[in-house]
């Protein structure tokens, strides 16, 4: 009994806390109290998540009908995503307390920020496809207020775009769920429980259904063709919101894909079919396209959004290879990309708060304003480019070697090639900020910096510390990846 409660608690605790925060008008006047409560809830939540992940029970919360039930369980994948979500949420939450002093209506932001965390933990702990779908839809609806927080015309349009892309993706996926419910159990079990013999004549339809699910859940992960919401939604959202959108919420699309392919239908059922080939093609296209668009984009947050489009498709590419090495590489890239992209978005937010600059060409001489923050930006960037010993190198190594040994024909060579080109482009769109920041060139006078007395204006400690932790963690994981990789390989071995 007690274990059951421990498993469910981290789902409902932040949701209740968020609703409580918004329902009590007293917090609107007393800002310090509100900030204290948010921090405390996030910290306690981290403990609750850890305790939930250590349970070994299956909890059926509610059976709608015999075939539709809300079931939760913690397994390896839940551990990975749950820990990642809870820690990223805590750090970005601490950052946002400082950041949101520059925005209005912070109570609503914090309220929904907490609610979304509960929903995400529910998503991570779900033990069947129905539960996953419920929380997937709830995630879209509850994260919407974070996107359109500013309520400007642009923000509202971006919010609606986010909503409709996500809902369209979810309904595409629902088609697959409808189909799968007729042929197999929707419970997750490592390696999938689908018996190919059952399919019979509807095998062609089965493949279409799986493809619909990949594209549909891929919408959240920013996979072509449903990637359009990402570059629109990220720049208008407040920086901590874009950080968690990019770092965690896009990954929930990845989580759904993992659950479908590796825990329901099983990788064998689509190996070598047109579905696998098209899937890999789409991810490689997205990787290249995202990097290219990021390279051409002058607005920093939008550039980072395009970078997310490209990087999350690295993960999907690794999953599409249906091979243990690439699978481990993809899982490790989930962690690394999340840490790095959070660091980068938080830096972009710090720049906006301190200077109001959004375009990269305005940021010449940034090194004079916030030299230490820019240094951490550089550390994180190197990780994303994949320069050893930074963490991105590890995941890319596994992805590329997985591709080479996957035996997927042309993709096993084309994949690593695209990854290399994209890494080059990544360096091309991230590092100029560092270079121009520290070495603005001899013609740079820095009138604006002097006029506004911006020189040496590092962000406040609450904003700086999360950035430092994210960037340092990405570096540490790159230097000592051993235990993480072993854990991921054990998951991979179970599902293959």
């Amino acid at each position: 009994m007690e274990e059951n409660v421990r498993l469910i608690l981290p789902i409902f605790f932040p949701i209740a806390a968020g609703i409580f925060l918004m329902a009590m008008p007293v917090f609107r006047k007393r800002r310090k109290l509100e900030e204290g409560i948010v921090t405390a809830v996030l910290a306690v939540q981290l403990l609750f998540v850890v305790s939930a992940l250590m349970t070994d029970v299956t909890v059926t919360l509610w059976s709608i009908t015999d075939s539709l039930a809300l079931v939760f369980r913690a397994d390896g994948i839940s551990c990975l995503f749950g820990l990642l979500t809870a820690s990223v949420w805590l750090l970005s939450g601490i950052y946002s307390i400082s950041y949101m002093r520059h925005e209005k209506e912070e109570t609503r932001f914090f309220g929904f920020y907490l609610i979304v965390e509960g929903v995400l933990i529910g998503l991570d702990l779900s033990a069947n496809l129905i539960t996953l779908y419920v929380f997937y839809e709830l995630m879209t609806l509850t994260s919407l207020p974070l996107v359109l927080h500013e309520k400007s015309r642009q923000a509202i349009m971006a919010g609606l775009k986010y909503l409709f892309y996500s809902v369209a993706g979810a309904f595409l996926a629902l088609f697959g769920i409808f189909f799968l419910s007729g042929v197999t159990t929707l419970e997750f079990c490592a390696g999938g429980a689908l018996d190919s013999a059952v399919l019979g004549q509807s095998r062609a339809l089965f493949l279409v259904a799986v493809f619909c699910m990949l594209v549909g859940f891929g919408a959240k992960a920013g996979m072509f063709p449903l990637h359009g919401w990402l570059p629109t939604a990220h720049p208008v959202a407040p920086a901590p919101a874009s950080a968690v959108l990019s770092g965690v919420i896009t990954k929930s699309g990845v989580l759904a894909v993992i659950r479908v392919v590796y825990f329901v239908i099983g990788p064998e059922s689509i190996r070598g079919t047109w579905v696998q080939n098209t899937w890999i093609f789409l991810t490689l296209l997205t990787v290249f396209m995202g990097s290219m668009l990021a390279y051409r984009e002058p607005v920093l947050k939008k550039r980072l959004a395009y970078s997310t489009v490209s990087q999350v498709s690295y993960i999907l590419f690794g999953l599409g290879l249906l091979n243990a090495t690439a699978f481990a590489g993809a899982l490790s890239h989930i962690v690394f990309h999340s840490l790095i992209k959070n660091a980068l978005f938080l830096v972009a937010g710090a720049v906006i708060v301190t200077t109001g600059w959004t375009r990269t060409d305005e940021m010449r001489g940034l090194g004079r304003v916030m030299p230490r923050t820019l240094a951490w930006y550089t550390v994180a960037s190197l990780g994303l480019v994949g320069i050893p010993p930074a963490s991105g190198f590890v995941s890319k190594w596994f992805l590329a070697s997985g591709a080479l040994e996957s035996g997927t024909g042309v993709w096993s060579f084309a994949g690593p090639a695209v990854l290399l080109v994209s890494a080059l482009l990544t360096a091309g769109y991230l590092l100029p900020l560092t270079v121009n920041g520290y070495f603005p060139g001899s013609d740079f006078r820095g009138e604006e910096i002097e006029e506004r007395q911006l020189s040496g204006r590092e962000p406040s400690a609450r904003m700086r510390i999360p950035i430092v932790i994210f960037a340092a963690a990405s570096l540490l994981f790159g230097c000592f990846p051993g235990s993480l990789i072993r854990f991921l390989e054990s998951i991979a071995a179970a599902v293959m």
Binding site: E137, F164, L174
Partner: protein
């Protein structure tokens, strides 16, 4: 003699409405105020109580012939599971809707006439639900047009006159097509009457010799009865009829009238022609395709429409065709899913319309773009609307998802069964699932864009409004009074209940479906 109890709930409201009308004609003064409200509510609630008692009693399967018109034409009532379900649905909705409309219509001048017809419609709808044969169904079907016509006409504006005329022509035209079907059923019936018997009543001889003729007649009758269910191409009357007062649009044009159309189609398909005769025929594919086209059309038009009530009316057009699509699957599971959506949609749509009505009544706003920021001023109303919208979209944990799940499940299992048989129409059920999901997306667009507007009003860049003044504006709460809120809360509660605990309902629908096909 006990069987005559069945006719009471049909005749009582008819008489009640008639007396109200006569009192009005006789120039009775007192019939304008509180007295009218009490009589109306009293008659309606008493009648609902009676219906619910009947459903709990041992009257199941009992039949009663009210009178004979001519040889095998008789007006007959029968209480079976399917009719009982529809009657129960109507009986739950009507008193709540009446409560709402009493508050809504309080300021109107000619409300005596309005409530007279409103009460009469109740009896007529119950007549359709409890009809025991096709002839009775047809008679009440025509009467339904006639008693609801004055309700559409009620505002007496030019627009209303035109709309009511359209409504009249379409309904009567549709009934004419349905009439052809009745004649054929009577002629080729194996029992000599048109009584509803699960599995159909056509004689086997006719089914082999006159197959294509009968299929053609079936298609004609489907489209004929489909007019009331707003099937393409005869949907036009429904969006136009939104000029009527909101209680009419909500109860009649989202539930009673349109669902009578769908109910008639189901009766006709499963109890007269028989699902096994139609299954796998070109007639089935035709009506299924028509339903799918209507779903596509209705949900797309709803997105385009900016008048809120008309938008909801287009949504009704598309949702009614979900029901027709379910009925056109012609398997037990298909009928069960159709009934499930019939129940779920009744609550969702009446709830959405009443929210629109509450907004119109309190603020006078009709268009979607006028709704900015109302979410904070009418929290209870928009709370209920949120529940209804999410349910219409088909988000799990709400009623709409359960019915959608069953519809798609029925379609896919039927699709895979006819693939095995090698029928050419096997792609249609699968296409149907795709169409339903497309429509769900459109539902998200047209319902959620309202909610986003209401909850997150745009802050224009140039405005000088500070947070303080905004706060003051927000404080003016203009939720309607309890008479309007109570029905809304009950509807929202039912939607949640059906979404979370659909077991008993699904079992009932499964039993109806299993018996009928």
């Amino acid at each position: 003699m006990k069987g005559f109890l069945l006719t009471v709930p049909v005749l009582l409201p008819l008489m009640g409405g008639g007396i109200l009308l006569l009192a009005k004609l006789a120039g009775h003064r007192r019939i304008g105020g509180k007295c009218l409200e009490r009589v109306t509510l009293g008659v309606v609630s008493f009648n609902s109580l009676l219906v619910l008692l009947l459903l709990c009693s041992d009257m199941w399967g009992r039949r009663v012939v009210l009178f004979r018109l001519y040889s095998n034409l008789s007006v007959m009532f029968k209480l079976d599971l399917m009719g009982g379900f529809f009657a129960g649905l109507i009986a739950v909705l009507w008193p709540l809707a009446t409560l709402f409309s009493l508050a809504y219509m309080r300021e109107e001048k000619r409300k005596g006439t309005f409530f007279a017809y409103y009460v009469m419609t109740y009896g007529v709808t119950l007549g359709i639900a409890l009809a025991g044969n096709l002839v009775t169904l047809y008679i009440f079907y025509e009467m339904l047009t006639l008693v609801t016509f004055p309700l559409v006409l009620f505002p007496l504006s030019r627009e209303a006159v035109l709309a009511s005329r359209t409504y009249l022509y379409y309904s009567i035209g549709g009934a004419a097509f349905a009439f052809i079907g009745i004649i054929f059923v009577l002629v080729f019936s194996s029992t000599g009457t048109s009584e509803f018997i699960a599995g159909g009543i056509l004689s086997t001889q006719a089914m082999t010799q006159q197959r294509d003729m009968l299929l053609l007649v079936y298609v004609l009758a489907f489209f004929g009865f489909g007019v009331k269910a707003a099937l393409l191409p005869c949907y036009v009357w429904l969006p136009r009829a939104t000029v009527a007062p909101t209680p009419v649009t909500a109860l009649l044009h989202a539930v009673a009238v349109v669902k009578s159309g769908a109910f008639a189609v189901m009766r006709f398909t499963y109890f007269s022609f028989g699902a096994s005769f139609l299954r796998g025929s070109w007639a089935q594919y035709t009506v299924m395709a028509a339903a799918l086209l209507t779903i596509l059309f209705g949900s797309t038009m709803a997105v385009k429409e900016i008048h809120w009530k008309r938008r909801l009316a287009y949504s009704t057009v598309s949702n009614l065709s979900y029901i027709l699509f379910g009925a056109a699957i012609m398997t037990p599971f298909g009928l069960a899913a159709a009934l499930c959506h019939m129940a779920a949609h009744a609550f969702m749509k009446i709830c959405s319309f009443f929210c629109a009505g509450a907004v119109m009544h309190q603020t006078g706003k009709n268009y979607v773009y006028e709704l900015d920021g109302l979410g904070k001023r009418m929290p209870a109303t928009f709370g209920c609307l949120t529940v209804a919208s999410l349910s219409l979209m088909g988000i799990p944990l709400f009623a709409g998802f359960v019915s959608k799940w069953n519809l798609c499940g029925a379609a896919l299992s039927y699709g895979s069964s006819i693939v095995e048989e090698g029928k050419w129409g096997a792609f249609l059920p699968v296409l149907g699932v795709a169409v339903i999901l497309y429509s769900a997306l459109m539902t998200a667009v047209y319902m959620l864009s309202v909610l986003v507007r209401a909850y997150f009003p745009r802050v224009s860049e140039g405005s000088l409004k500070t947070a303080e003044t905004e706060e003051n504006d927000v404080c003016a709460n203009c939720d309607p009074g309890w008479e309007m809120l109570v029905p809304l809360f009950i509807f929202a509660g039912v939607i949640l209940f059906m979404g979370l605990y659909p077991g008993p309902f699904l079992e009932l629908f499964g039993r109806i479906g299993g018996a009928a096909a």
